[in-house]
Amino acid sequence: MARIGVFVCHCGSNIAGTVNIAQVMAAAQTMPLVTFVADNKYSCSEIGQTAIREAILKQKLERVVIAACSPQMHEATFRKTVAQAGLNPYLLEIANIREHCSWVHSNDKAAATKKAIELVKMAVAKVARHEALFTKEIGLTKKALVIGGGISGIQAALDMANAGYPVILVEREPTIGGRMAQLDKTFPTLDCSSCILTPKMVEVAQHPNITLLTYAEVKSVRGFVGNFEVEILQRARKVDASKCTSCGICWQKCPEKIPAEFNLGLGPRAAIYTPFPQAVPNIPSIDLAHCRYIKYQEFVARGEEGKKPPQCRICERLCPPQAIDWEQSDQVLVEKVGAIVVATGYQTFDHTRYGEFGAGRYPDVITGIQLERLLSASGPTEGEVVRPSDGTHPKTVVFVSCVGSRDERMGRAYCSNVCCMYMAKQAILLKEHDPEVQSYIFYIDIRAGGKGYEEFIRRAQEEARAIYLRGRISHIYQDGKKLIVRGEDSLLGRPVEIAADLVVLATGIEPSAGAKELAQSLNISYDAHGFMVEAHPKLRPVESRTEGIFLAGTAIAPNDIPGCVAQGSAAAVKALAVLSRPSLVSDPMVAIVDPLRCTGCFACQRACAFNAIDSQVTRDGKTIAVVNESLCKGCGLCVSACRGVAMNLKGFSQQQLLAEVNALWR
């Protein structure tokens, strides 16, 4: 018979303030097989753990129940504690009398105490049926994958590569650089975005440890920490990168012009293009949706009647090294990696949803990121700020904050974190570009919590003479050449009307398109908006809940550049902590098949989300299920799918769970 020890934790007053510890201890004394009961002020402290270890040795305990906080918090801690006293670490059960009990029933102490006793009773019944479990060592691929080539992903890739590990950096766009590449200057120092970003982009391209895949997307991820298998779709550029010299003749001569995405439609680009001059890699791609020759080929393939479109092929004819390759096709690459950093970044809120602001109807109502392109020396106007409608220089500029942020109507309760600061920055830059410019900034609150941020807002107010008006805008309409902005100054309680030349909407941040789908294929969670969820918002801010998958940048939440870079480095360190281990330890709490009960219906295989069920043929010729322990996550779906109870979950066996339920009725 097993000797069971029960340790009840006070957790300071977290538990003891609600649950009557003495009563729980007295009840535990009477539970079957319990030979020792003790309490601890803080079980997780050094003193508490030592007390548990000493009790195990002195009382010859064979199983341990610790009634304390959630196993998510300290199960790993206490497994080590009991192991140090010579017990198998899996002969431990945690009764969660904090999150499941004292915290949620703080208004009813008697009921909380009763529930705590029942939780302990269940844990005792379960641990009595625990079996010793043993981990296995498994190998790992010492290579990392970074998804997203913005500043967060670049930082993570460089840090890991500099630590000596090979990294694959996958970027969906034809170039790395992300949103930061579109910015003119950065707050609060006003250093030029390109000047600090471009060297890092070049470093990525030249780094011997980094394999850069642009114009590529992660299609699927299988496997587990240390042993992921990733399918990457490499889209065809139709340009042979080994021949191209980036001379630029092709995109200069291409006759097809379309609005450039990089400049948010403020200028044209060709059908063969690089998004911007400093693109890395500086290899152009042919935009299949707009290339004339591709359109011609499609026309011919459809076999339609009528006039054929022109064949064009000017780029091919003019390319000095003959790098145009029409035969190039999409390819699927399969890579093995040990850790993954997800840095999929953001896109801006669709401001046209605010019909009252006239965005999309009035050309001179633009977004913050469009203004960045107008301010940028490499932008469509080479840094000359002009109105998109008539090319004149705006003198009165109105900024509207919280467009798609802090607005429940739009389903966006959250603050986008950067808009207050970039509005101030843009007001300063506008004044630098043209001293006659007067900026008005409509705000709800000014959020300037970062280092040097509040001072920067003062600078916008005092040096750039930006006028801050607290209030929301109700309406914007065109009156001749002017845009009439109507709103309320809520401090004065008076309506305001400003005749503006340019209106800038500070559009909020939302997760990139496709981020949810990627999160699904990675089996990581995301919130209602599609931002990735951290393993712990404070203590594990760059880890996902899936081991081996880490998060960085605005994929988690709106963040500014310093924050994103810090997260990129942090995620890199977390990934390196996986990659630098000699081997990984498998979790022994996995499913197991009873071959005598299995009928080979394979309901388990259909239920398994991790492809962890294989088949095997027994000596008598029966085909039955078998668990691939390295893929199994121990979720138990197969167990519930199995009618014949041939599946069981080690550490959460049917016997153990039923014992818990039965204990409640005794």
Binding site: Q520, L596, R597, C598, T599, G600, C601, F602, A603, R606, A607, A609, G621, T623, L637, A641, R643, G644, V645, A646, Q654, Q655, L658, A659
Partner: protein, 285 residues
């Protein structure tokens, strides 16, 4: 029809394509059909099919795994066979399916032929099996769906939870735990049924209402999304528990929630053993 079955059976046995033909012959009362296994051409002369062929024979195929077999199936049996094929208990390539056009099975007792169709056949929507290698009998237009015959189905649906519980308590109270329902059910092929397991002991050995209740409801849940409604369990129940009511209710629930009827399509897994992202059923959203 009988001749077509016999001819095919003889041909298959003679060529060695199959080593057994499972079908029906006339029972010893001279009226009711009974399951019949023909291993030789001579035995095949005994095969017959009529409106007393109530048994669902497909469960016999599980024990003939690895041996090529021909089987006579009605439309409902054919669906049960598809379930077994989907659940990898029967290999399609090992079975030659003789599908019989079915006009419905009549209610009859030992030595006495009845005149009314069985309840399940009165509401049945199929005369022709969905899957077969050879079809015997004249194909006919499929009947239109009818409301369930058993008036208790509608009554039950309108009852309060407490009233329904009282109804089933009365029904299950009669259960002898003889397991005839399980033995006859094509969906019940577990190596060791949960009710027989001792570790853990899911259902106690006592023959009393709580255990009877557990047994019957767990079995019904194990059949949800798998039961084809052949009502064999109800037919063999010695104490006339209306198990069909329970199974049909779950069949309708599954059809409403998942747009799924068991045994209609090959290679479509039962909804309760799969997860689709769009199947949220209003939970948690």
């Amino acid at each position: 029809m009988n001749q077509a079955i016999r001819d095919k059976a003889k041909e298959l046995l003679a060529s060695g394509a199959v080593s057994c033909v499972i079908g029906y012959d006339v029972g010893s009362d001279g009226i009711n059909a009974r399951p019949f296994f023909a291993y030789t051409e001579e035995e095949a002369d005994g095969l017959a099919f009529d409106q007393t062929c109530t048994h669902n024979l497909v469960k016999y195929l599980i024990d003939r795994a690895g041996k090529a077999t021909a089987i006579v199936v009605k439309p409902c049996d054919a669906r049960a066979l598809t379930v077994l094929i989907n659940e990898k208990q029967v290999k399609r390539e090992e079975v030659f399916i003789i599908g019989a056009v079915c006009h419905g099975i009549i209610e009859s007792t030992w030595g006495q032929k009845g005149s009314d169709l069985q309840g399940r056949c009165q509401t049945c929507t199929q005369h022709t099996p969905l899957v077969y290698d050879l079809l015997v009998g004249e194909p006919m237009a499929e009947p239109t769906p009818k409301a369930p015959l058993d008036h208790r189905a509608a009554t039950l649906a309108n009852m309060s939870v407490a009233e329904r519980a009282a109804f089933w308590a009365e029904q299950f109270q009669r259960c002898l735990r003889c397991n005839a329902c399980r033995q006859v059910c094509p969906g019940c092929y577990c190596a060791e049924c949960f009710v027989d397991q001792l570790d853990p002991e899911w259902v106690g050995i006592r023959i009393d209402l709580p255990e009877k209740w557990l047994w019957n409801t767990i079995r019904a849940f194990h059949l949800a999304g798998r039961c084809v409604g052949c009502d064999e369990c109800q037919r063999v129940c010695p104490v006339n528990i209306p198990l069909g009511l329970l199974n049909h209710k779950l069949e309708e629930e599954v059809a409403t929630l998942f747009d799924f009827r068991p045994g209609v399509k090959a290679d479509v897994p039962a909804p309760l053993e799969t997860f689709k992202k769009d199947e949220k059923l209003g939970i948690g959203e």
